[in-house]
């Protein structure tokens, strides 16, 4: 199979095949920890790191691993990296680890990671596989952060609450009161707010795609309704 170019890999991971918005994978952590930007960013970075490491390793092992045991091997690789990353976070970002809690070990079960190992990393060389891991992780992180920002502003009226947990003490003053004196909108902070927010993001993404398609069709002189037939 021909390996796609770097630009294609990036565009797929970030937009066309976004783990959160298109494949709808990894929704459990996506919905659970997106109550604030900092939590979202923390989980996004941990997931990206896992994807980068697992994609690279799976790609390097792709000629050695027999097809029958490939899935157990991928799971082993992913579980190893997640455990290691969890221990490192516990050691060096203890407070953030405390907040993200169970969702760090649960990265193992994020199907987006196993999906990339099987669909991409096991069929392509290490370089593109690593890039694919980064792009998929960045796409997932972006969705998490956008959802987290929306929910934090609506739910608490702030942004970057607890930023020092990721970025160190110098970020302690980063918290912005976007809506000062705001009491908070409970729905946005609770799980239903996550579902509604994700729904809006999906709708937004689809609307942008639809508009681009219409433009392309218009430029090519094709009828705007041609998409339905395709």
């Amino acid at each position: 199979m021909a390996t796609p170019g770097a630009q294609r890999i990036l565009a797929d991971g970030l937009w066309h095949n976004n783990a959160g918005l298109v494949q709808l994978l990894g929704l459990c952590p996506l919905l659970a920890v997106s109550a604030t930007v900092v939590n979202a960013l923390g989980l996004g970075l941990a997931t990206t790191l896992t994807l980068l490491a697992s994609n690279t390793t799976v790609s390097l092992l792709r000629r050695q691993v027999p097809a029958e045991v490939r899935i157990p091997v991928y799971v082993l690789v992913i579980a190893t990296f997640v455990t290691v990353i969890g221990m490192l976070m516990n050691a060096y970002f203890h407070a953030l680890y405390g907040i993200l809690g169970i969702f760090i070990p649960l990265i193992v079960t994020n199907c987006a990671i196993l999906g990339r190992a099987e669909a991409f990393a096991s069929r392509h060389p290490a370089g593109p596989a690593a890039l694919d891991g980064l792009a998929t992780g960045a796409g997932f992180t972006a969705v998490l952060v956008v959802l987290g920002a929306g929910r934090e502003v609506l739910g608490r009226g702030t942004l970057f609450h607890n930023a020092h947990l990721i970025l160190g003490d110098w970020a302690r003053g980063w918290e912005i009161a976007v809506l000062p004196g705001y009491d908070g909108f409970l729905l946005a902070a609770l799980p239903p707010g996550a579902f509604i927010g994700l729904g809006l993001l999906l709708a937004g993404r689809n609307a942008i795609d639809a508009r681009q398609r219409r433009r392309r069709h218009a430029r090519a002189g094709a009828p705007a309704g041609g998409e339905a037939a395709a």
């Binding site: 027999p66 455990t83 203890h94």
Partner: protein, 209 residues
Amino acid sequence: MTEGTARGTVIAATVLTACALVGAALVALTHRETAPAIAANRESAVRERLTAVLPPGPFDRSPAQAPLQVRAPAALGSRDALPVYRAVRDGKVIAVVFTAVAPDGYGGAIRLLAGVQRDGGITGVRVIAHQETPGLGDAIEADRSDWIRQFHGRRLGAPPAEAWRVAADGGAFDAITGATITSRAVTGAVRRALVYFRAHRERLLTTDG
């Protein structure tokens, strides 16, 4: 054919075993490298929390060190042994900090720390883990409201034991608006810890537990 399949199986098993061994080695290595930092983090997190519920220091040693392990399911709300930390000054225990569990919170068990000085007066209470409703029950966190601070300086007798309830149950403590169940659970857990302290005062206040 059979021979080929057997060979394939052996190869597959070998690769899988090798991957498992390498993975286990990586995890073990990381564990060895991070274990001291993780233990230090835990201790400093405990120490930080204890500072909030203890009278100001200095103490002879960190109160986070060598806690008593107390198993008292009825009084402290857990079937497991829970740590009771002691603040020692000049060889005397001046206060103890209970880890108490309120099993009857709205969203499940609420874990808290309750500091009690020699005379039975509360030096502070803090919630360390809970799953109460954000925006309502989470007002038991000291960062979100002053509610938890109303226990400070109270003791059994002031108010009397039967008034260690929320106002809705005829007691002396305000409940958080919209979170009566949560408030009731925390108040009850603090009361039970105080009763336990009164009953086991001598044992808890000796330094060499």
